[in-house]
Symmetry: D4
Subunit: 145 residues, 8 copies
């Protein structure tokens, strides 16, 4: 079995690359999926359909185009890793966690200790809490052994 | 039909009371449900089972006790109102929105204009975005007419 | 058992009233639900949230507010009656039929013989095709006997 | 991942071919499925079982044979494109859109601006509205990147 | 809890009445539902929509009108009793049993010992096999105690 | 797409072989699945677990062993062909039809005209009624084209 | 909202009565359901259908009659309490826990500390672990407040 | 079709190896999946995330890491074999059986005759009861033939 792992959340650090490199080094039977992680092109995802002048509708249109991709990939994954960094609101990451919880798809969180309290509901429905990409790789090794 | 409306999110302002008062004044066939909105008792929800010394596990235990209530009420509602205020992380509100989206339960968001951009994924899956409790009451009037 | 019957489609004739009157005269254990059938207020359903200048987004916003109501009522009905008249496109009626088909909710169609051919896919997934409101009442009598 | 895209609706123009050509030119990981798009053979799909004299039942029989194919392909697609042209009723296209909406399958619409208003309910449940086959190809590029 | 019990199958003997009488005598919290059990009116259920000359389509039309009722009641029951008598094919009874099995709705069978072998697949998915209406009443007493 | 077609029902004639031969001759992208069609070995399917003396329990044990196979294959098929011959009760065939109906899996029936009336409920939920294996092959050609 | 709470497991102590008394004393909006808790009548639940001589089949028959009740009540509860005492195997209690987990129904466990290790998988999918009936009552107070 | 068979339960004897060897010798189209069967590494599955001092939380953390694997493999199998040996509580095996029952996944049990009575509920929802690994292999031969 090849495990499909969706990587959700923070796009400003290289945690995705670290996990992918670790998994490759270990030869794990894992493939990773993800939203578009380029901020600007993600914000402009719907502009080719005609860019609305109003910011709310521009965001709305682009987010729905992005959601075609993210919803499909999230629904097809075997496991999701939800990453919360120290910047920005990252509500989309928490949204993905809730989506997984409702579907019964297992997910783990990846975040520092100082945000344990505000993330308590998200962690309570998770299968594990990791603090480093190395731990995520360790977990993937164990799960796919 | 009595509509059951789950009120999720911010607990530091009186938006729930404003909506409830507006609905009552208008005689709407609506009943409201909600998580425990008292911060301290919510954090201590699981302490009667033995309070873990470690903060992570204390939060974990309490959050799961709270989830018995919130998950049940959220799954039974006809409509959810997800409120984002100007303080705190409010990841649980975004989590609830994702949960609704996956279940196919309609929800609306209630937040100011200045957080339209970070909430774009949450708004994209919502049925409407309101900026004031009065608009929510207006919406409930229309929907339940 | 009280049967909940959703009446979908044409809003320019009094077919809903005829069915309701017939059901009441016969004392049937039936309650009817429906979308907002007033054209203007339906088109303006979302305007209280701020009326978008762009027609597409105004329609979009209003349609989603209407959908909170229609989706909920459609999902809760035991039977739907889908009416196609001789005017307008009535794509929302066909949309409701497809929605019912996917959910496994039984529906019947109500339309004249001259549109049998273009409605063949919609009729093929229906439980019956009626040509008059009287026939619908007859069917409700039989089904709820 | 190979994306399966169902192309529903209008059969009198070459929009399917344009999209397929654009996707092939771009080397996209996409495969297209569709109903039988030949009008006459579609109408006669059930005749080999014995052709009913009555038009309603002939249409009924053929539509159900067609539905074996369309229902299966629609349920297996990752994304549907629903096309509305300027002729005919095209209720089957709206029916497919409703079917997707109820299943939670993402779909986009493809139509001119002059039918935005009658299609508002169908568009409201869609992930995007495109006006040209080129925009659809653009969207497929983005989503499958 | 009031248990809803669907009584499916044979219509030429009074087994339904015997069970209902036994349940009433024992004051059980049970309500019974059933298809239309009058053979002639059942066969003519769709004739008010226009009686097709062809027998197959007449049966087809009537069966679908009947199915609005039976499918709804079958899907809403807590328990089904499937009765096979010594006459006729009774394929609709076996059909109902398969429908229950797929939904996960518990059902029991009621039939004589001499048809144990041809009913083995139907009995294998049942929760119990009874040979008399008295045994069915006994079972209802136990289950609803 | 390879279509998986489950062949259910009568085991005393060669209808399965005729359909398979026709499909192979036409090079159709179809694979067929089926229950164990050997009467004696099917009846003895559970005997290796210890043969119960009582006939009911022997049938019960064997039928459940058979059901591991049939339930799995039935749930995985894209289309089922349900065959009713002129002998025996064939309640398992009607059971399979009901199972398909509840799952939303399309099925067609294959039977002579003289049993149209007792099969009316089973036919009403079917997508087509064929009278010969040749017609079934014809249908598979059309559906998989 | 009245919460329905299913009480599963140990039948040799009065833990059910303690919880019910505590809930009643506190006036909680809770109703309790349960399997038949009388050992002998439970073992004999199917004997009225004819008592099989073979022990396996007698148990089989009785367990399925019991399952009509337990499966229905378990599927209808809002919360289950799964009790493990210090005697017997209690595999049915663990079975009920697994059933709840698969359905997404929240459950809590009630057991002493010395069996924490063998129950770790069952506890891992639970929303809480209580050690006394008083704690269960406390939890019900909080959840239904 | 390759059948995926999940082997759940007892980890102190070589029943898994016996079944696998028998299946391989017979060239069966079967692949086996399983939880981590090494007791110590299973108990320590979550320690790399930080080993909680409290035994309950250590078990909790490890069990959830294990559950990522077991839940996924259990949900993907076509058939489960649930083994109960003569030692230990083996509540996780009964939990897996309940999980399968709720999902509708067929499972068989493998255990000696002396524990028929305490396993009656688990056996009642099973498709077969085997007493030896050889019988399981026999069953796999029959089912996959």
């Amino acid at each position: 079995m090849i495990w499909t792992v969706y990587l959700s959340g923070e796009i400003h650090t290289d945690w995705r690359e670290q996990i992918a490199a670790g998994a490759e080094a270990a030869g794990l039977p894992v493939e990773f999926t993800s939203a578009n992680t380029y901020h600007e092109s993600s914000d402009a995802a719907g502009d080719f359909l005609g860019k609305p002048e109003n910011n709310f509708w521009r965001d709305h249109q682009s987010s729905k185009v992005n959601a075609i991709r993210t919803k499909t990939l999230l629904e097809q994954c075997d496991l999701a890793v939800i990453r919360f960094g120290d910047k920005y609101k990252q509500w989309n990451a928490a949204f993905d966690a809730g989506y997984c919880a409702a579907m019964g798809t297992p997910y783990i969180t990846l975040h520092d200790e100082d945000i344990v309290h505000p993330l308590k509901e998200v962690d309570a429905a998770a299968m594990a809490w990791a603090q480093t990409p190395e731990q995520v790789v360790e977990l993937l090794k164990y799960v796919t052994a």
